[in-house]
Amino acid sequence: MSFEPRIIGFLCNWCSYTGADLAGTARMKYPPNMTSIRVMCSGRIDPGFILSSFRKGADGVLVCGCHPGDCHYVEGNYKCLRRMLLTRQLIKDFGIDPVRLRLEWVSASEGARFQEVITEFTEQIRSLGPLKLGGLVPEVERTAVHT
């Protein structure tokens, strides 16, 4: 059986999630490897989520937000952009190929683009093969308050 990558997608509620919705209602086909997690804004995405995803066995993480300037919350996507650049540095240090973390801008009307991004990213991860961590990524420390 061939390798089927497991991909986590963090989609912002207003653009990318709606775009995914559009792709769906438009019956566009794309690989089923990505599972999406809806957040209100790409600015909500804590780097911890990404580290956690890799640690838990994701082969790739896709972060989608609104196009620059189009953020529903004015500039959440810019904050996301800054964090993702840093996170990519960080995962490199952990020995994870930074291409496994991808940031894409997909707007609500870009169902076709969403389809394209997913297909292409899935193929890319597939060609990279499974992520072998060997326990290098530490468990994100949960603060006590979250109990």
Binding site: I37, R44, G69, V74, V140
Partner: protein
């Protein structure tokens, strides 16, 4: 100005010093005939018909012209002495000797008792009163007319006697001409400059639309003579209430509102990019919008369907889907064109004897009564040709006498290539999103689709609302729509707004961020991050606090909080971690 006492034909009158005799006489109801005098213009005193006798009561006497003689204290004016009457008569007879027997002179001749002018009559309909020159100069400010030559050869002329670009075709000269010497022949002939027909109002002063609020006329600076030349101002002179304000400018007012309905409409596709249809190149290729204006009884042709040369067309071609359903332009169907094209056919049939040819891809006549109208059009002997209009070429290309233009297409029903001779082509141009739609969308924090139409919150569940609370859509800014659909959507948007207003309060989303005071270090990182300024720092407690009513739940602060003190409700870290875990195990 000082007040002076003047006596006109035995009547005492108090006037302002420097005012003209004519004003005084007219206010007393004393008639002094004039030919070159007109209100709103400075007196010219060229016709000398308004001659009166001025006296000072001490023996001094002089013939003066009433229209421009300034009054002074003690002035006596006699308007009917034999010397005055003789001067008027001889002058009028001399004028008649050059002029054609125009009514204005005939009337005056009757008034002065001239039965047969001594030196006969001439044939010039211009009496050289100069009203046209002055109205163009002083009032309109276009300076497109002047007197040329001198003495008996004097005449009114345009620069170099030709058509002048200075002329703004306002028609003021023709309006003031007392003899009809200036006719708007030329302007009438050029009345239908098809490519200049637009939806803009014909008059510079108009109501923006019937139900405008406030319901008062406004000046369109683009068409107003005053704003173009600095002259005119006739409206302010005739307005009895002094309502005209020229220095009123556009003002930006900030109004606080709780909800906004976007109803910014659509733009019409510019067909000149589709070179094959020759729009802008052949004078009789017009857009649907221009044809609509031509049909308007208050439009440039008075509702008549005319070619640019002023003749009635013998055949008209209507090309559907110009810019719509086209891979190169807009893929979507503009929805309204088929039906208005039928309406055009009907109007043409009603007003002219022209043949009508419709070139269509598919007829889309859904909706109540639409299909029946289509049938009626078919019964009216309109030629419906299935085949997209491929090209419009001048008829000279085929040396045919039948029409001025040829519409070429492939008639897919008979499977033949056809060239249809017509005199006029109407292009059913696509509806497209406003050029500034993206900008507007950004302002209201909503999205536009690939074609530029505003995106509704949900195509089925929220076709009126948008992703921004309190912003609603109505009409063709959302997608091409006909009038009934637009009215429905407008009503729906209004009721959404009313719902908000009637409630008096807003139901907030349950999702918002919250700071656990005990975990907050008071670092204030979150304060600056919040795009809505919803986080305040409470100095005495040295902690930050989220104002739940202002928070939109984006979660940026949640992700940024170094101590994890902020909880994004419904999107808590735990929930997301759980989702990750759930997905990956």
């Amino acid at each position: 100005m000082a007040q002076v006492h003047v006596n006109i034909d035995g009547h005492d009158i108090v006037m302002e010093e420097g005012a003209y005799v004519l004003e005084g006489a007219r206010s007393l109801g004393i008639r002094i005939p004039t030919l070159c005098h007109y209100p709103y213009m400075t007196p010219y005193a060229a016709c000398r018909i308004c001659a009166v006798e001025a006296r000072d009561g001490k023996g001094w006497t002089k013939i003066v012209t009433a229209c421009n003689y300034p009054v002074w204290d003690g002035l006596e004016i006699h308007t009917g002495t034999p010397r005055v009457m003789n001067a008027r008569r001889v002058n009028l007879e001399m004028l008649m000797s050059r002029s054609a027997p125009v009514p204005v002179l005939q009337q005056l001749a009757d008034e002065l008792g001239i039965e047969k002018p001594r030196w006969g009559t001439g044939d010039d309909t211009c009496i050289l009163c100069g009203l046209c020159v002055r109205v163009c100069d002083e009032v309109v400010g276009a300076h497109a007319l002047a007197f040329s030559d001198r003495g008996i050869f004097r005449k009114v002329a345009t620069p170099f006697g030709g058509q002048s670009d200075d002329c703004i075709l306002c028609g003021a000269c023709a309006k003031v001409c007392p003899t009809g010497h200036i006719a708007l022949d030329d302007i009438n002939q050029r009345q239908v400059v098809h490519r200049d027909i637009s939806l803009a109002p014909n008059s510079a002063i108009s109501l923006p639309f019937r139900q405008a609020v406030p319901n008062v006329p406004r000046i369109e600076p683009e068409h107003c003579i005053h704003f173009n030349t600095g002259g005119c101002k006739v409206c302010s002179q005739v307005c009895p209430k002094d309502c005209i304000q020229y220095d009123d400018t556009e003002q930006i007012e900030e109004i606080e509102v709780g909800a906004v309905i976007l109803a910014t409409g659509f733009d019409s596709f510019d067909p000149s990019v589709m070179k094959q249809y020759g729009y802008g190149r052949y004078p009789n290729v017009v857009t649907a919008e221009q044809f609509e204006m031509m049909n308007n009884a208050a439009g440039p042709t008075g509702g008549r369907i005319l070619l640019e040369n002023g003749e009635e067309p013998r055949a008209i071609g209507i090309v559907h889907c110009v810019g719509s359903r086209d891979q190169n332009h807009h893929k979507y169907c503009s929805r309204v064109c088929c039906m208005y094209a039928f309406k055009f056919s009907h109007l043409v049939k009603e007003k002219t004897k022209a043949e009508v040819y419709q070139f269509y891809i598919d007829i889309r006549s859904y909706g109540k009564g639409y299909e029946e109208f289509y049938q009626r059009i078919l019964d009216e002997d309109v030629n419906i040709i299935r085949g997209r209009g491929a090209e419009v070429v001048p008829a000279s290309y085929r040396r045919t006498e039948e029409g001025q233009l040829l519409v070429r297409c492939e008639d897919t029903l008979i499977g033949k290539f056809r060239e249809v001779p017509v005199d006029m082509v109407i292009l059913c141009t696509a509806l497209e999103a406003r050029a500034d739609a993206k900008e507007v969308a950004r302002k209201f924090n909503i999205s536009t689709g690939a074609d530029g139409w505003f995106i509704e919150a949900h195509p089925k569940l929220g076709p009126v609302s948008t992703t921004t609370d309190g912003v609603y859509l109505a009409g063709a800014c959302q997608s091409p729509k006909d009038i009934p659909d637009t009215v429905s959507q407008g009503g729906a948007a209004a009721s959404h707004v009313l719902k908000l207003l009637c409630l008096g309060e807003i139901l907030l989303d349950a999702a918002f961020a919250e700071i656990r005071e005990e975990n907050c270090s008071g670092c204030r990182i979150c304060n600056g991050l919040c795009p809505y300024n919803a986080i305040d720092f409470i100095a005495e407690k040295k902690v930050s606090k989220v104002n739940a009513a202002m928070c939109k739940a984006c979660g940026t602060c949640v992700a940024a909080c170094p101590t994890g003190a902020i909880v994004g409700k419904h999107f808590t870290d735990e929930q997301i971690y759980a989702q990750i875990e759930g997905i990956l195990t």
